[in-house]
Symmetry: C2
Subunit: 199 residues, 2 copies
């Protein structure tokens, strides 16, 4: 399986993180985003959204980081990361929604402005970031992991743009349970870092 | 199972639509959003996000419309709506991300402004709506259903805020394949309407 990948993308890192933690082999195909490779016709044929990551598995092309997480875990039978139990699966999907909604339009957008110099108004992204970080802090004050008693796909989907929030000018100090949770993930066997999330 | 529900909410309608199409029994508990019931302490204990829908199944409380769709289909063994096949499941999750990301922050936000009089700048929501509707049109020009050869959870997650887009001032006429797809869903046995999406 080949992952079209950008090293500084939190969405690509979600996938690299799962592959590392769940011991799933993955070939990386770097995409030169600075050169606009993700908007070239060849790439748009692969993913009309013009976004990374994209997974290629034989004939099958898959867009969206959350979708790729589910595919890798399901295809490789990593049921500890993506359980068959309806309640666990649904609760994980709830966190995949948080990754696609509140985190993408909160801390990830604030980071796009500061880290990549995209001209945008940070007011709403910062408000959204404060709201979701407070909700996450309250949730993690009562448990070690987002769903159940061990890490799941929810950790891979949610952690990256939370841990990268300081690159968008967001201080994580008011969220000690969130910081402790990030450290728990960083201590997992097989953990891989990315720029902004050290080992 | 009890669904905390608001009749004019597209997110709640996703769940009512699946329940109707897949013949899943569901008790509705109306939430008085105008009276701010979703922000009352009792409701916030159920869902700290302060949002509908919320599903209550015995001891289990579940937030997020996408999560509830997965739970209902998985719990009731509706594998035609939520297949076990990794590729199908992952592609559906890709559309659940579209529902949580592009549609929520596109047409659903434009509708909040026009339909409910929420003061917000529609510029970005309208731009996002145009982009995702064009992508959806291109996708549906080549197939009857979002994933595979029959309707799945993807239809329940994606259709509502697309069909409600005109309530946000968005004309769907430039998207004939999208309109035909909405009509295919409206023609399914068991289909239920909502205000803005007639039978």
């Amino acid at each position: 399986m080949k992952l079209y990948d950008v090293a500084v993308s939190g969405n690509c890192y979600k996938v690299r993180l799962l592959a590392a933690l769940a011991d799933i082999p993955l070939e990386l195909a770097p995409v030169d985003m600075r050169a606009g490779e993700h908007k070239h016709p060849e790439f748009l044929q692969r993913n009309p959204w013009g976004e990374v990551p994209v997974l290629q598995d034989g004939d099958m092309t898959l867009r969206d980081s959350q979708a790729i997480l589910v595919y890798l875990a399901a295809k490789h039978g990593r049921s500890e990361w993506w359980p068959a139990d309806p309640a666990a699966q649904a609760k994980i999907v709830g966190w995949l929604s948080v990754a696609a909604n509140e985190l993408q339009h909160g801390p990830a957008t604030a980071r796009r402005a500061d880290r990549f110099g995209i001209a945008l108004d940070k007011t709403e992204p910062l408000r959204r970031a404060g709201r979701i970080l407070a909700l996450l802090e309250a949730h993690l004050a009562g448990c070690d992991w987002l769903v159940g008693s061990r890490p799941t796909l929810a950790e891979c989907a949610v952690m990256p743009y939370v841990a990268l929030a300081p690159e968008g000018g967001i201080d994580l100090a008011p969220y000690p349970s969130v910081l402790a949770w990030i450290d728990r993930i960083r201590a997992l066997p097989g953990f891989v870092p990315m720029p902004g999330i050290p080992a």
